[in-house]
């Protein structure tokens, strides 16, 4: 006869099996239409481009080589692919700048919301959340209408006599950055708010009692306490910014490409799927590094603050 312990063990095993069955549909859908195909991208990056797009099934590292280098069509010598490097640099620069800018604007905004009376806090939060859930393309399009040469900014500047020619903002790196700051700002504010909401103001008060200035309180007390929120927000902005497709397509106007546009090009006119695949893996690698930094930092700080 089975002992009580054995029966319990069997029930538990059955329980866990049921839990696997229950989660199977979600796991299978994600495997087939999200995670699994990523492995195929890795495979494709080591194949030879086909003449009309797609690939030929012969092994080649050419896709990876041409991420950074370009082969001279006459004498086969390799040199740095300056066009690619410009685009990498622009993507990285714009993503970092957008992250910094959202932090500069988002920090005070999150702080403002967190210090409102509890009843009105939800309303401010709601005002931040609405743009977050509205279509990214529409929001980018809205930025386009404001900053183009005939938009309200330039019209106002000309009417005020500050300038007589419209200032070209659209189709520049500046436009892409403004667009990214605009669309990703809620991604910064929400995690910042989450960590500020729990802020213990007795510590702030203690700081002032010890004759700290406002700046010292901010730098030495508030900022260290909300650091996890700062990191979370920065990661949440950086990841979509480095892979941004819509914003540079709409506001960069074709010539100011970022990573995603370069990748798209390889699958369209470029007809170099292996290069496109290698570029995709490169973006993924950058994102993975960012996530690793995040995991490192948050687990460390949790341990410190107990």
């Amino acid at each position: 006869m089975a002992t009580a312990a054995e029966i319990e063990k069997q029930t538990e095993a059955r329980e866990i099996r049921n839990r696997w069955f229950l989660s199977a549909p979600a796991l299978i859908i994600i495997l087939l239409a999200a995670s699994g195909p990523l492995l195929i991208v890795l495979l494709y990056s080591f194949l030879t481009p086909g003449p009309y797009g797609d690939v030929q099934w012969t092994f080649s590292t050419e896709g990876w080589v041409s991420v950074f280098l370009e082969r001279d069509i006459f004498d086969d010598t390799l040199s740095f692919a300056s066009a690619h490097l410009t685009i990498f640099w622009r993507s990285l620069k714009l993503a970092l700048m957008a992250t910094a800018a959202t932090l500069i604007f988002g920090f005070p905004t999150a702080y403002f919301i967190a210090t409102r009376p509890e009843r009105t806090r939800d309303i401010w939060l709601f005002l931040i959340t609405i743009p977050f859930w509205t279509n990214l393309l529409i929001r980018t399009f809205a930025v386009l209408q404001v900053i183009r040469n005939e938009g309200i900014i330039n019209t106002a500047l000309i009417n005020l006599g500050i300038t007589d020619q419209p200032i070209q903002m659209l189709y520049t790196d500046f436009a892409i950055m403004v667009g990214m700051v605009y669309v990703y700002l809620p991604l910064m504010v929400l995690p910042l708010y989450a960590s500020m909401e729990k802020l213990d103001f007795r510590l702030v008060e203690a700081g002032y009692d010890l004759y700290a200035t406002r700046w010292q309180v901010l730098k030495r007390i508030i900022f260290p306490m909300v650091r996890p929120g700062v990191i979370a927000g920065s990661i949440l902005v950086f990841i979509p910014a480095i892979g941004a497709y819509v914003t540079p397509s709409v506001l960069g106007g074709g010539k100011n490409m970022m990573f995603a546009n370069l990748i798209e090009l390889q699958f369209g006119q470029g007809r170099n799927w292996p290069l496109g695949a290698a570029l995709s893996i490169t973006v993924m690698a950058i994102v993975m590094v960012a996530l690793l930094v995040y995991v490192r930092n948050t687990s460390g700080s949790e341990a410190r603050h107990g």
């Binding site: 859908i29 994600i30 210090t115 279509n135």
Partner: protein
């Protein structure tokens, strides 16, 4: 007399916050205003008119793309919500078991990969399947949307489940309810607000997608956002503003409903 000293005050923060709130809404307000512009140009105000809404309504491509968007979003949202509900039931209110962390990571995986990479991956994968099976319908788009909607549907459902204790279900079991009956009559009614919230989030997320759709769609399968992207790239007329306005209104209604639904919890 000096202003009362507030420990919560930080110099300039309120000003920056106010600027942020204003700047978040000004471009949207401008976009909506120009949707009602009589003039063909998007820069001059020619008086109030609904002509661009009429133009969009009479544009077959717009109607086609809208219907396709709704079809994809509703299918993907329903499938994703069902799968996410099951997964949430399997991953909450349990002692840690082997594979639990793996499941969390796997379900949230679509959130961690840039959309462009997923788009490219699906383009390659589905291209192979298209050749092998000859099928090129909306199924690919629905599958792709379902996958990235699952983590969004999962979030509110899991949150709701974690706040629910097991007492009522145990009581049902004590009163000889079968597990299925206890689920149907006790767990499901309590979980319902979370499921609806998940469904709405998934719907909005699917409706908004541009990047993955752009890569997965076959010829003639434009959704409303990919159609709009094409129009914006080609040069703009206030018609796009009119479409955007209707789209915005729909999103705001859904998000507001979601907001009140998730607030009711307490």
């Amino acid at each position: 007399m000096a202003k009362r000293f507030s420990i919560r005050q930080q110099t300039g923060f309120t000003t920056i916050a106010a600027a942020c709130f204003v700047l978040l809404y000004v471009p949207i307000a401008v976009l909506v205003a120009y949707a009602f512009n009589e003039s063909t140009s998007v820069s001059e105000w020619g008086g109030f008119s609904l002509r661009w809404f009429a133009a969009a309504w009479n544009n077959d491509q717009v109607i086609d793309a809208s219907l396709r968007s709704l079809k994809i979003a509703s299918s993907a949202a329903v499938i994703a919500t069902v799968a996410a509900t099951m997964a949430a039931l399997a991953t909450t209110r349990t002692r840690a078991y082997r594979g639990l962390t793996f499941k969390y990571a796997f379900i949230n995986q679509p959130l961690m990969v840039p959309e462009i990479v997923t788009g490219v991956a699906l383009l390659i994968f589905f291209a192979q399947i298209k050749v092998a099976t000859g099928y090129s319908g909306l199924g690919y788009l629905i599958a792709a949307h379902t996958a990235f909607c699952i983590p969004f549907a999962y979030l509110p459902i899991r949150a709701r489940l974690e706040n629910m204790d097991l007492t009522l279900e145990r009581a049902a079991a004590d009163l000889y309810a079968t597990p299925w009956k206890a689920f149907r009559r006790v767990t499901l009614p309590l979980l319902w607000p979370g499921i609806i919230a998940g469904l709405m989030l998934a719907f909005v997320i699917s409706l908004d997608d541009v990047v993955i759709t752009e890569f997965v769609k076959s010829g003639g399968q434009d959704t409303l956002p990919t159609y709009m992207l094409g129009q914006i790239r080609r040069g703009i007329t206030p018609e796009v503003n009119a479409i955007s306005t209707v789209f915005l209104l729909l999103s705001v209604v859904i998000v507001t409903l979601f907001f009140f639904l998730s607030r009711k919890r307490d």
